[in-house]
Symmetry: D2
Subunit: 129 residues, 4 copies
């Protein structure tokens, strides 16, 4: 089983006055790892982004995320349906897990703007995860 | 039953290249309405923010949010537990609902840094919702 | 002489770990007041935004901006050239000025994508400032 | 002469509806490269950030910055005064320069909260640039 992982170095403006990384920033990082993952399926073609609608996102904040330590953000699993799939994400600072979440993405037919079956080549790539 | 509502005017930098308000911005707006609601319980004392930990957030994107139209963000319900409560949020552009979500907040004893029972005066205020 | 002013309520995620509003947030607010001003010239038509390129921005941080106090952001002057104009901006919390800055905007001919003379009707409106 | 350079991969939420990287994002990236540079002078100790106040920033937008291409952000020069110094920054996408700017940082004595002479060891490090 493969994982998809990226490293995010927290930025000063991503902290808040409570002294840690702000929760809204974590949601933004979810987009970062999700988008990089989608682009990795198609050789970094940003055109793919128009084919996917984010239907829902769920984030559990397991521990605080701090400035000064790199974050590893992973896509650990993809559950594939007919027209949608669910990406499971985890984030870590060192050995400590800070975040667990999932996002449901719906595949869109660009002509009709309605949900469409996920193509077989993408299914094959997602299944490798 | 009362509702808590604020108006958010979308900003240009909150859009993205797909032509609508970015999903990470929506998560940030969730914080805006949640924080304003918490502050409204205590006459806008930002000190209250240290007493609450965001445990989880869930957001359903029902429709696209567009630039150029004000957003109404509402806290429509609060489900109160012992040490935590769940805030239910909805967002609208005009008559059209764009977003539905919920956030679980844990009440923290500042001395021990551990979860503590929500005080009765806050329970009374939350129950009014 | 007229001024253009908007009120911005600082958001929690706009603070940083140094305990005040982050400097990058201030730059983002510059866009907010500038865009609202441009849209006010044409009855809030966002289409106008494509006609202007931001050539440069300069911001002096006169004092810290704090969470919990509304900010008044003003366009206090517009210096009009042939194809560009300079907008002078000031921000205040209560009586205290926090920020002074200016932005140079170039008017663009949408067909040729090159700088074009600012139309007379816009000149008249800018001259009122 | 040494340069300090970092690579920034544009994020989807950093674009705007005009189809490029938003100007406020560029200002935020200025903070990223400036902070990384300051931390590099002291082995990544974030404590140093409290010793510097950003007095002003100036950014010239030379060309549009696009999604999908990594950005190289450089500190190309530091002009050292008594209690302050000016950092000159440039950004590139491939061979194309997109941004040029400078930031004035004032050194603060943490006890008195007033401007203080930049220490000799930092002067030596800045002079290497």
């Amino acid at each position: 089983m493969k994982e998809f992982a990226i490293t995010i170095t927290p930025r000063l403006y991503e902290t808040d006055a409570l002294g840690h990384i702000n929760n809204a920033t974590i949601a933004a990082w979810f987009e970062v790892v999700r988008v990089r993952f989608l682009e990795s399926l198609v050789d970094r073609d940003p055109g793919i982004l128009k084919q996917w609608i984010l239907a829902s996102v769920q984030i559990d904040f397991i521990g605080e995320t701090f400035y000064g330590v790199d974050v590893t953000a992973k896509i650990v699993e993809a559950t594939i349906g007919n027209t949608s799939f669910t990406l499971h994400t985890e984030m870590f600072q060192g050995d400590k897990q800070t975040v667990r979440g999932k996002a449901v993405l719906v595949h869109l037919d660009l002509a009709s703007k309605s949900p469409a079956r996920i193509p077989d080549d993408l299914r094959a790539k997602l299944a490798e995860l």
